[in-house]
Every structure is written in structure tokens, then in C-alpha cells.
Symmetry: C2
Subunit: 301 residues, 2 copies
Amino acid sequence: MKYSNDTVAILGLGLIGGSLARSLRASGFSQRFIGYGHRDKSLRRGVELGVIDEFTLDLDELIERADILVVCAPTLIAADMLRQILPRLGQSARPAIVTDVASVKGNMRDAAIEVMGAMPPQLVLGHPIAGSERSGVDASDPDLFVNHRVILTPEEGNDPAAVEVIRSMWASTGAEVVDMAVDDHDAVLAATSHLPHILAYALVDALAQSSASTDIFRFAAGGFRDFTRIASSDPAMWRDISIANRSALLDSIDSFSAHLDTLRQAVQAGEAEQLFATFSRAKQARDEFAATLAERNRPTE
Amino acid sequence: MKYSNDTVAILGLGLIGGSLARSLRASGFSQRFIGYGHRDKSLRRGVELGVIDEFTLDLDELIERADILVVCAPTLIAADMLRQILPRLGQSARPAIVTDVASVKGNMRDAAIEVMGAMPPQLVLGHPIAGSERSGVDASDPDLFVNHRVILTPEEGNDPAAVEVIRSMWASTGAEVVDMAVDDHDAVLAATSHLPHILAYALVDALAQSSASTDIFRFAAGGFRDFTRIASSDPAMWRDISIANRSALLDSIDSFSAHLDTLRQAVQAGEAEQLFATFSRAKQARDEFAATLAERNRPTE
């Protein structure tokens, strides 16, 4: 075996990195877990909780000792970390594999190519579609990825053996691992996650700034609460995702705006049949999606 | 007392009308409940369930016998019903009060003025902000309105005594009754309910029609499910609401679109500080709203 998976480094110890370490420890996929970050607060807590065995603030030491480096930092910091890690990997006979969990993949690929001139064979980009309303290492959960999707975006220059190690790693957490092209990943996530966040933020901000905002929030009910839940998400995280996935997000916004404008014209013209047809089509698509999601999340015996 | 409230007529027996009848019977506010509709299926079921005591398909008979007529039909049909009822009310010494539960109030007021030349003194427009994922008389629940808001929109020409009867009626269901102007009601509901439905329908339809729709729905997760839940609402109901509240809805769409366009420009220009400020403002407003809603819905002892 060209690669080892004994020692896993978690770079940025929060909900996702902590949950991954706990899961890999429970499954026996890896034996030793080292935390890394710029500050030691959450790292000390990770050791206290037994999520990691030790930590270091020294990137060179980390790279020397780890078999798999998992970059779990927020999107834009994750790209910066890649720029620091990749040139230091060296050309040892038993090189470390580098992977990540960031929400956007194109900017990670571009950062790698920017510093290395080409896609490094042992950089395997990935994105677990999992989360929680809670955050931080205290919220970490070894079952966080069970029955969730993890998308890997292997590139032409990748070493297939490195991709297989990362695929096995995620499979051991109970996740379903699927492959996608980087650009497809970013387009799909823009449509299903990044655009809805922008819409929710835009709606709540528009209402909050209106002169009737007191009455508006006073009379809003449960449907509004569900619709705007994602506007309570972390503003720094979504600022970074919006910047990292700019191109696909702009395409998604434009496609949505064109559809909204068509609906607006139908409302203005009182086009009852067109409104009914559009709403019916949307309801059918949404009902099918909800049924699929319920089926996927059904506990298996 | 100028008005009596012994006999209540429910015109259109579904979730809302059935729940109101059950609640008024339980509280003793009224003694006799008569259903009315164009078809007898749900009316027969209402008698079976004990929700109503009897029913009729004859509007003249209904008007002769009822003290309070509650129009519970869907939005546009409700306006048509008003046009039929109001000219038949006559000028008896003990006239019936007419009220409704429709989601839009401006088109109801306009329908009344259209047929009567002015706002009839005994027409008290109202809107209970309550619902359920279930529908129909079988889903009716005497506690549906407990701790929910009911908005009354009394007009200049209304008889204050008639308004007080309807206020007492809703208070007896456990609802909190508040007054608003018709146009304010329609603007607030456009912003908090009608616009979000249009946005959810537009988003799901845009994604369903995209070439990547299979992947898009395959990788969508819980946040998307919550955000699009209202796109599973009844298309006929939302077609009618969109038409009935056209003017306020168009204003809401335009205000939202202007905000979305500003955010789009910030994404395109990579304006990190502006994105962070907008997302933070929206998060704060949404968190405050959610806290208020949780407090309002807290069970009281």
C-alpha cells in the first residue's frame, strides 16, 4: 500500500472535523488524531473530550507526522491553508494525502493549481453534505455522516489510489460517497444551498428595512419561520461561500430572477392559467423531492 | 342587543369553517350551526362528525335563519359569495352579520362596495392567521385558533356593534383579535406570506426546469426542504390569492427584487464587507423574529 491511514490530522477543529475524528476512531479506520489550528482553545477542548489525541500549532510538524490531512477550516481560510500545505508536502516515498470538507470546490482546485502549477496527485477534494444547527467541537457527533452524501470531485491529475483512500475513509463513517466534476458540484450546490441562503437573507433584510417591519414580523407565522430559517445562518460563513462560488452563484441568481420576473408578469396580467400551471409544476417537483428525501432518511433495519 | 349570535352559518365547510364551528360549540358562544355549499359531500360529512347540525344548498333559506354568516370559501369564491349574499340581506330589525376568513381583504371590500355602493354596516371582514398541513372538515380542530392571531379590518361604514360581535366570537375561540386597516393587512400578508410562496414556487420551478434538475434534487438536503416546504401548497389557492392581492404582491416582489439585485452586485464585485453587513442584519432580524414567535407560542399555564 502506497498510502497509510494510521494518523489523521484535522486542520480546524469544529463540528465537521470533530465528528469525522470521532467517527474514524469509532470505526477503527485510523488510530491517531492530531488537531491543528492558529489558536489552541478548541484544540485543548478537543483533547479534553477525547476527540483528538494531541494538537500542534506547527504546520511543518503536522505534515511530517500525518498520513491524511483533512482541511476543515471555513471556505476561504481552507483555500489559504492549501496554499501553505501543498508546497511543503515534499516528495517522500510515503506521501500524505490532503483532503477537505469545504462547501465550494472550484476555488480549492484553483488555489492548488495556482501554487503547484497542476493538480497535485494526492489532493482529493471532497464535501460532506451534513451539518447541524449547533457548531464547534462540543457538538461533534460520530454519527453525523450516517446516511448523508459525501461528494468527491476527483480531477484528471489525481492518483486513483489516493482517491480510494479518501473514499474508504468516508465510507467508514456511514456516508454514501459519490463522485462529481468540480464545476457540476459548484453549480448544484449553488442551486440547492447557496442561492436559497441568498434569497432568505435578501427577503428578511428587505422586510426588516421596510417601514412596516414591526407589523410584518408581528404577523408572520410558521410558514415564514421555516422559509427564513437559513437566514439565521453564520454571516461570515455565507460571505465566504458567496465569494468562493461567485460564478455559479451569479448564474443561479440570474436563472431564478428570470423565473421570478415571468411569474411577476403573470401576476400583473392576472394570467390565472399560467399561475396555476407554474404553481402545480413546482408543487409536483417539490412533493417528489420531499418523498425521495423522506425515503432516503428512513431508518434502515 | 341589536344582533343575535344563536345560529351560525358556515359557508364552505373545510378546515377553517369546521374548526370555527367546533370551537364556538365547545365555548357555548353559539347553539346551532348550519352548513352551506354548492355540493353536499363535505356537508354530509360535517353532520356525521357533529361539526354542523344541518345543512342547506339554498342561500335564501340560509340567510333567513342565520344570525352570523361566516364565508369560509377560497379567496375568489368568497368574493363571489359576498356579491350574492349582500343584496339579499334585506333590512330586517334583527339583521344577520356577515364575516369571512379569506387571506386577502381588499378584494372582499371592493366586491361589497361594488354590489352595495358602500360598505354594508354589518359586513365585518376578518382573517384568522391559522392553518394546518391537513385540510377538509375531517381535519377540523376546536383548538386550531388558540393563541393564534385573528385580524379584523373594520371599515368606516361598519356598525361598531357588529364588529364587537365578531370580535367576541373570535375571542371565544382562544385567538388574540387585533384590528388593522384593509390595505395594511394586505401589504403585511403580501410581505410575510404571499411573497414567500411566490419565491418558493419560482425557485422550485426554476430548478425543476434546469438541465441539471436530477442532480439538483438528488443533492438537496434539509435546509432546502424547509425553504421549499410552502411550494407544496395548494396551487389553486395560491393562484387565487395572487390574483386577489395583485397590487400589494407586486409591490412586495419589486421591493424584494431590488434587494436581491443589490446583493447580486455585491457578489459580483466581491464586496465582502457589504455581504457580511447584509447577512448580519438579516440574521439579527430573523433571530429576533424567531425568539418572539417562540415566546408567543410558549404554552401558558
